[in-house]
């Protein structure tokens, strides 16, 4: 070894820029080093680096090379440096990216199947999991993620024994599978992150643990006979899984084929269809078109309209994805939380086929998770408490989704203790959210939990009490154009209804008029519109203008003045006041009149008007003109 290194060293002075003979000779020398010697790889790369550097850099690289050689010979190359030098570059990032995407899909299936097993004890899931891990093992081997490959390999071995009934499935095995699942997920995240700097990731996999655990599971497991029916089922399943790929069989036995498309392409298509619809509307409102009496022309126009509408509907459907995948993730949330809280909780899912705008899916995950956690934590009681109340010790949470009146409703129902009005009121009073004189309806009391900084939990638990309140949930839902409503019966449970628009592209708006201008206020923030009398309006010292609605007073915002628009009404009693609910409080907006409620297509205003944030976006009206949508939270 040292001879070779000496030999290499002797050759260093002869290294000249671009001299192929010396390069070949040195390569040969380096190659003759033993394979398990880290210096081989380090030197090999440094040599290439030096020879293929630019002319300007050559001198620097050459001296770096000599220093490296010296360090190796004297053994002063420390571990971290060694690792740094041996970091491999990812050559085909596209391939790695595909690997991450596919494996993540697989792991999601892993999780779903594993969670399902906990409920129905159907052991045929092992085959599916085996297939997922097997694929990860194969691909990671091919991509030279050796550590991941090794980890997956050990996991696969155990799964193989499981599916051949050499090991029984018990709680320990299930726990083991969950840990492996999380470890694989984390590794994929590491791979995905490594794509950013282009070097191979350093995995945080605990190989020692998995080796030991597998060994112990093997030893601890008695040879147990599984009845033949199950065995046949497994065999059948394993045959089926091999055939299944991108084809899925739906309920009617029809085969649906899937095509992966770049989202940019879909967006481009949708943009153009949107334009087509706008032009269509303009065409059919055009005076001269309306005057056409010629039958054939009318027929052609009718056809055009029909096809355009069909095109719009079908392209809108491209944006939609089933909510099921998001619901499935909640299974895990409930499982983990029920373990941690030592409560028995079952999550039942329905309506997972309901489709929602794909842009909403990601934004829905966190608020949903939060609400589910909240139900586990504050809704469902401890088993003992439940039994005392005459309920089954296992608590239930029902998560469902359905269409209702042009909206999508997500319902989170639990059979826990329900919201305590007394506790909420006390808390709200303590935090100065309300005054003792205020008389609130049940609904208003429940809605107090969405106020910033509100938490009714008597003790701050590890899960729900991490400083994120329900106000964050509400804001997230509102930003999606939705709203949250609560129903609760003391001792019987609570229901949270999340009402979402079908798509993010369309907004349900209230059109108001100020002078010659039209503006739109999102309908979900509008509480009511009132025609005040002069007595309802007064000026409070330090607080400015206020408007009184029944026994409550709200700040009054004179929209015409804020927007510097000429208006017809000089005082609130001349026009109309719209009560809207902002993040923090209710305010009254003064306008001339309400023109109506209408669904409008939301259009981004782009960077140009970024600093005028009190206008969130534009909307194209039926007559082709633009109206502006007001962001009420930015008005004050």
């Amino acid at each position: 070894m040292n001879d070779i290194l000496n030999n290499i060293r002797e050759n260093v002075p002869f290294m000249m820029f671009g001299d192929g003979t010396v390069y070949a000779k040195m390569t040969e020398l380096i190659m003759s080093l033993p394979d398990d010697e880290p210096a081989k790889k380090i030197l090999g790369e440094a040599l290439d680096d030096t020879f293929f550097s630019s002319f300007d850099e050559f001198d620097t690289k050459l001296s770096e090379f000599s220093k490296l050689l010296k360090d190796i010979q004297e053994g002063t190359l420390d571990e971290s440096e060694k690792r740094e030098k041996t970091r491999k570059k990812i050559t085909d990032s596209e391939l790695v990216n595909d690997f991450v995407v596919e494996s993540n899909e697989g792991l999601n299936e892993f999780e779903v199947k594993l969670l399902a097993f906990e409920n129905d004890n159907d052991i045929s899931f092992i085959n599916d999991i085996f297939r997922v891990v097997n694929t990860i093992k194969g691909s990671s081997g091919f991509l030279e993620f050796d550590e991941l490959n090794h980890y997956a390999h050990i996991g696969e071995n155990l799964l193989d024994e499981l599916r051949n009934n050499r090991i029984t499935i018990d709680d320990r095995v299930i726990e083991f599978l969950f840990t492996v699942l999380d470890a694989l997920k984390k590794s994929l995240q590491e791979v995905s992150e490594s794509l950013k700097d282009g070097f191979f990731p350093e995995f945080s996999l605990d190989t020692e643990w998995i080796e030991k655990e597998v060994e112990e599971i093997r030893e601890g497991s008695a040879k147990v006979v599984i009845d033949k029916k199950d065995l046949d089922l497994i065999k059948e399943e394993s045959k089926k899984t091999l055939e299944e790929d991108s084809e899925k069989i739906d309920g009617s036995g029809k085969i649906t084929k899937f095509l992966k498309v770049d989202t940019d392409k879909v967006d481009f298509l949708l943009d153009n269809v949107g334009e087509l619809i706008v032009v269509n509307n303009m065409l059919f409102q055009d005076e001269s078109i309306l005057q056409i009496t010629e039958k054939t022309t009318q027929k052609i126009l009718g056809e055009l309209k029909r096809i355009s509408t069909r095109l719009q509907t079908s392209s809108m459907a491209l944006r939609m994805v089933p909510i099921g995948a998001t619901f499935q993730k909640m299974m895990r949330v409930v499982r983990d939380n029920s373990k941690r809280l030592k409560k028995a909780i079952k999550l039942k899912i329905s309506g997972e086929g309901t489709e929602i705008d794909r842009n909403m899916v990601d934004k829905l995950h966190d608020p949903l998770m939060h609400m589910i956690r909240n139900s586990c934590d504050h809704g469902i009681e401890m088993p003992k408490e439940r039994e005392e109340a005459g309920k089954p010790s296992t608590g239930n949470i029902w998560l469902s989704s359905y269409h209702k009146g042009g909206n999508i409703v997500i319902e989170i129902r639990d059979d826990g203790k329900g919201l305590s009005k007394e506790k909420i009121l006390k808390k709200a009073l303590d935090n100065d959210l309300i005054t003792p004189e205020q008389h609130l309806t049940d609904k208003e009391i429940f809605n107090l939990i969405f106020k910033p900084g509100f938490s009714t939990a008597e003790k701050v638990s590890e899960i729900s009490g991490r400083g994120v309140g329900m106000d964050v949930v509400k804001n997230a839902i509102t930003s999606l154009g939705g709203r949250v409503d609560i129903e609760s019966t003391d001792g019987q449970g609570s229901v949270f209804y999340i009402k979402l628009p079908l798509t993010l592209a369309i907004l349900d708006g209230v059109v108001i008029r100020i002078g010659d201008e039209r503006f739109i206020i999102p309908a979900q923030v509008v509480e009511e519109a009132i025609k005040p009398t002069a007595e309802d309006y007064f000026n409070m010292a330090n607080q400015g203008e206020m408007i009184k609605v029944r026994d409550l007073v709200h700040p009054l915002v004179r929209l015409p003045e804020v927007f510097q628009v000429e208006s017809d009404s000089k005082n609130p009693e001349d026009g109309i006041v719209i009560i809207v609910e902002t993040d923090r409080k209710k305010i009254g907006l003064m306008a001339d009149e309400i023109l109506g409620k209408q669904e409008v297509v939301i259009k981004n205003l782009g960077a140009f008007f970024k600093k005028y944030d009190f206008i969130s976006s534009g909307a194209i009206m039926g007559d082709g003109t633009v109206s502006l949508i007001i962001d009420i939270n930015k008005l004050l």
């Binding site: 943009d271 949107g274 334009e275 619809i277 706008v278 032009v279 201008e517 804020v562 927007f563 510097q564 628009v565 259009k603 981004n604 205003l605 782009g606 960077a607 140009f608 008007f609 970024k610 600093k611 005028y612 009190f614 206008i615 976006s617 534009g618 194209i620 082709g624 003109t625 633009v626 109206s627 502006l628």
Partner: protein
């Protein structure tokens, strides 16, 4: 000194090319044809609250909402009512990595002129008051004087900075 002359020559060189010319009052202006997306007739413009004077508002350009700038106001010229010759030139520009589309209201569109290097003079410097830096130069084509505008600078530097910080 020699360096400075060289620099000027280079920019004159880069100014040569095809320009879309239009009228604003008695003057003829030109903007690089490559930055022009289309010319559309005057349409209903929605006023944008609190925006500066020279921003007339927003329009619906086939389903896209874009801002429209009133060039007369921007150049402190007397405004007059729109007539059948008034039109909007839609220009496309890059600010940082963002592509921005905006409309510019002008009195009347004239023609496309090919202006060669010899016909261009760089903008005369009027001392140090620098709010005319949106003028790149002046083209003299057969007795006609065309003021060449830098579309990227029609917005003030503050406004552009606000845009590029996104």
């Amino acid at each position: 000194m020699a360096e400075k002359i060289k620099k000027e020559e280079r920019s004159i060189e880069s100014l040569a090319g095809k320009y879309l010319t239009f009228y604003l009052g008695d003057e003829t202006y030109g903007i690089e044809i490559l930055k022009v997306q289309e010319i559309i007739g005057m349409m209903n413009v929605t006023h944008f609250p609190k925006a500066p004077d020279f921003i007339r508002g927003v329009i619906n350009l086939r389903g896209k909402v874009i801002p429209v700038i009133e060039l007369r106001k921007k150049f402190n010229l007397e405004t007059h009512d729109d007539d059948e010759k008034t039109c909007i030139i839609v220009i496309q520009l890059m600010v940082g990595d963002n592509e921005i589309r905006q409309g510019v209201i002008v009195d009347e569109v004239s023609e496309v002129l090919d202006i060669s290097q010899e016909e261009i003079e760089l903008s005369p410097s009027f001392g140090s008051q620098g709010n005319i830096d949106f003028i790149m130069g002046v083209g003299k084509v057969s007795d006609k004087v065309v003021i060449l505008l830098d579309v990227n600078k029609i917005l003030s530097s503050d406004e552009l900075e606000a845009l590029s910080n996104i």
